[in-house]
Homo-oligomer: 429 residues x 2
């Protein structure tokens, strides 16, 4: 059993620090160049979808099942068979889905932009309001927070535990404050915590009684089928169904894409919501564009050949990703367990491992890693305005480097965690 | 020589009307179903780009010249070689170009939306202003007008002649009214008039002295290489160069796409403007999306293999489109010349023929054509708010039907023009 750093004397800490500094110099001399900053698929994952490029060729029938030519203008809401595929993936009905371009982030941005400019289904445009607020479960996805920040929306952090956001707090805000217009959620294998919302949390979401008629849940189901294991897979309740049952049929927008299934940047994205919401969105979207890339939609439909094909494909991704996650987790377990200088959750899917360092250490750890050539997401990025009040949370993205590189990067990471923690503890000795 | 309708007596007109009504019944009995409403490429044109689908396959090198993997995230502003291709097409420098998604209309929409929300390079967001106005050369592109209408921007029609917009009026508004923030232009083979701006017009644009610092020219060069003939091709002055020379380097946004070169909906689009403007756009766009479809950019680059390849490809389009335009023009010449009931211009490129009926006849003509099964763009659509004060302009889109169908549709069209004109003339007899 290792000795907790918290129980060490000043003398012991100083001795440890000296040893860690030696290790630090050794690693520095190696000149690492590794990146764990972003949830980017690795090369082997990209190879998985290469046969998709053979699916359509100059001899292909380019018509949809209904006989529409995918090469020409039309089908603003996406071709029927791709709406079906995305609906199956998102576990909703086809009529509740619009397939868009290559980026679900872009759909989210446009959804916020549209609400700012025009309101939601006839409500007052948010630009005309003195105050617009969003709830932001933390730690969360930095790009969500950047969208609301860009539009000057006030962000309120909501703590998360292993069941999801603190629903007492969510209910307090949503049900009482009409300036609260939304909440950002990554409900499954969350970014970055890797947790999935419990049934109770989803049900409490569905039964919210928003003070604002134009309050919506922004349900970014980015990792809906992105499991790491075959035997243990998280399952969350269907938020659209539950909202409908609870008398809140229009309260949720669900977003998803194939960016981490086919190709990042060349996938298809979709929004799922009530038909009433879709009608409003389409009434604006029809002025924004004539339509999205339907040839790419057809390519996806024919390649995956239905939801079963999607799931089969995701197993191949899991086989590539799992060893990378395990390389990190093994190192964390081996090196940090029992030291009381950090906590982490072992995720069953998604793209991230969330590490909580001792308060006041995250920035120092990220800086030290950078000094050793290992790039991490900026400390604080997982909080609105980049401000982690505890300076504790670090998002680790193991997907891009190889498992071997991940092992090296993890060694560097734990070294920096140890050194930063010792330095922090010595401040108060 | 045919007798002008204007010179006919009531008796002659009544006789003519009876004969035309007989023809109308004959055509009605045929049950036509033809569409000349939108600038949609025809099937044969779509076939031209089918070999593009063979360009990338599972064995392809997917890296850019710089070694970036097009399959992964990155290159927000587009891959370098596609920026070069679009720059060459738009006759600007690569550094002045961002390549975006599949729709230049979407770029225009987002550019307006961004200006509404955030202003232009630091100016006051338009939403905070009491009045925002756009100048709209007429007849113009209905989808431009729909964008500005959706955002509540006041649209001021500006008459056009065969040289372009009435520049006296443009200068009067732009140089004196700080609420005038933009002007919609289709400078080459304009939609729908088919005319190209004269050098004098372009120069007067470049030398505007806008009262508003955030005034921009929205230069939709949709038909920049869309010639119909090999020997007579319009050439317009380079607006970005001329603006720079005139001390207005940031005053113009240029838009273009390959929607009518490769595939509508599956092409690539681009914006060209000053680097200062691009920096500002990218500072917002980086929150809106992680990037556009770079695999499709690579597909376009490798298929067209440079600007010469683009031009060669456009010759094939011209060969398909020319007979369709000629079928309409021949019918107009044969049947309407000398009757004094309509004028039209023979375009040398683009996608439309603009027909000016006798005042007060456009709606009637379009309705009659619809009754005979020939769908035209709604009368008035070429004017802001769908309001053609003369009720005169009709946009004919000859691209989608076959030449044989176009011949039939044109016969129907001239019949309806004649009948509507006779009815109008009889009102005042």
């Amino acid at each position: 059993m290792k000795k907790s750093y918290l129980e060490m004397s000043k003398e012991e800490l100083l001795q440890l620090k000296a040893a860690l500094q030696e290790d630090f110099k050794t690693e520095e001399a190696k000149g690492h160049s590794l990146n764990m900053a972003r949830g980017k698929p690795g090369r082997a994952q990209l190879e998985l979808a290469m046969p998709m490029l053979d699916i359509l060729n100059s001899q292909s029938d380019m018509n949809t099942i209904l006989g529409n030519d995918t090469r020409n203008y039309g089908d603003l809401d996406g071709i029927g068979e791709c709406r079906r595929l995305m609906a199956d993936m998102m576990e909703v009905q086809k009529d509740n889905v619009i397939v868009c371009g290559n980026s679900s982030l872009n759909i989210m941005y446009d959804t916020i932009a549209r609400s700012m400019a025009f309101g939601v289904n006839g409500s007052t445009p948010w630009f005309k309001l003195d105050s617009v607020k969003f709830l932001c479960p933390v730690p969360g996805y930095d790009r969500h927070f950047q969208i609301t920040e860009q539009f000057g929306i006030e962000m309120i952090p909501i703590p998360m535990d292993s069941n999801g956001p603190d629903m007492d707090l969510v209910e307090k805000y949503v049900n009482n404050d009409a300036s609260v217009k939304g909440i950002w959620c990554v409900p499954k294998y969350s970014n970055p915590a890797g947790i999935s919302y419990s049934d109770e949390v989803v049900l409490r979401f569905a039964h919210l009684k928003p003070a604002a008629e134009d309050f919506r849940i922004y349900w970014d189901n980015a990792y809906c089928i992105h499991h790491l294991y075959k035997d243990i897979q998280d399952k969350i309740l269907n938020i659209l169904d539950e909202c409908t049952k609870a008398g809140n049929p229009d309260m949720v927008y669900i977003f998803a894409s194939t960016s981490k299934i086919s190709f990042p940047g060349s996938g298809v994205s979709a929004i799922a919501t009530s038909e009433k919401n879709l009608d409003y969105i389409l009434s604006k979207m029809t002025v924004q564009t004539i339509g999205h890339d339907k040839i790419n939609q057809l390519r996806h439909v024919r390649f995956f050949n239905g939801i079963d094909g999607l799931h089969e494909h995701m197993k191949k991704h899991a086989d590539i990703l799992r060893p990378k996650f395990e390389a990190v987790l093994e190192e964390l377990d081996n090196e940090l367990a029992g030291l009381d200088i950090g906590t982490w959750v072992k995720p069953r899917g998604g793209y991230f491992i969330s590490f909580n360092a001792m308060p006041g250490c995250a920035k120092s750890i990220v800086a030290k890693c950078r000094q050793l050539g290992v790039i991490l997401t900026a400390a604080g990025a997982t909080y609105p305005y980049g401000n982690d009040p505890q300076d504790s949370n670090i998002r680790i993205a193991p997907s891009f480097p190889s498992p071997e590189e991940m092992a090296v990067a993890s060694k560097v990471f734990v070294l920096c965690v140890k050194l930063a923690s010792v330095e922090k503890l010595l401040e108060n000795k």
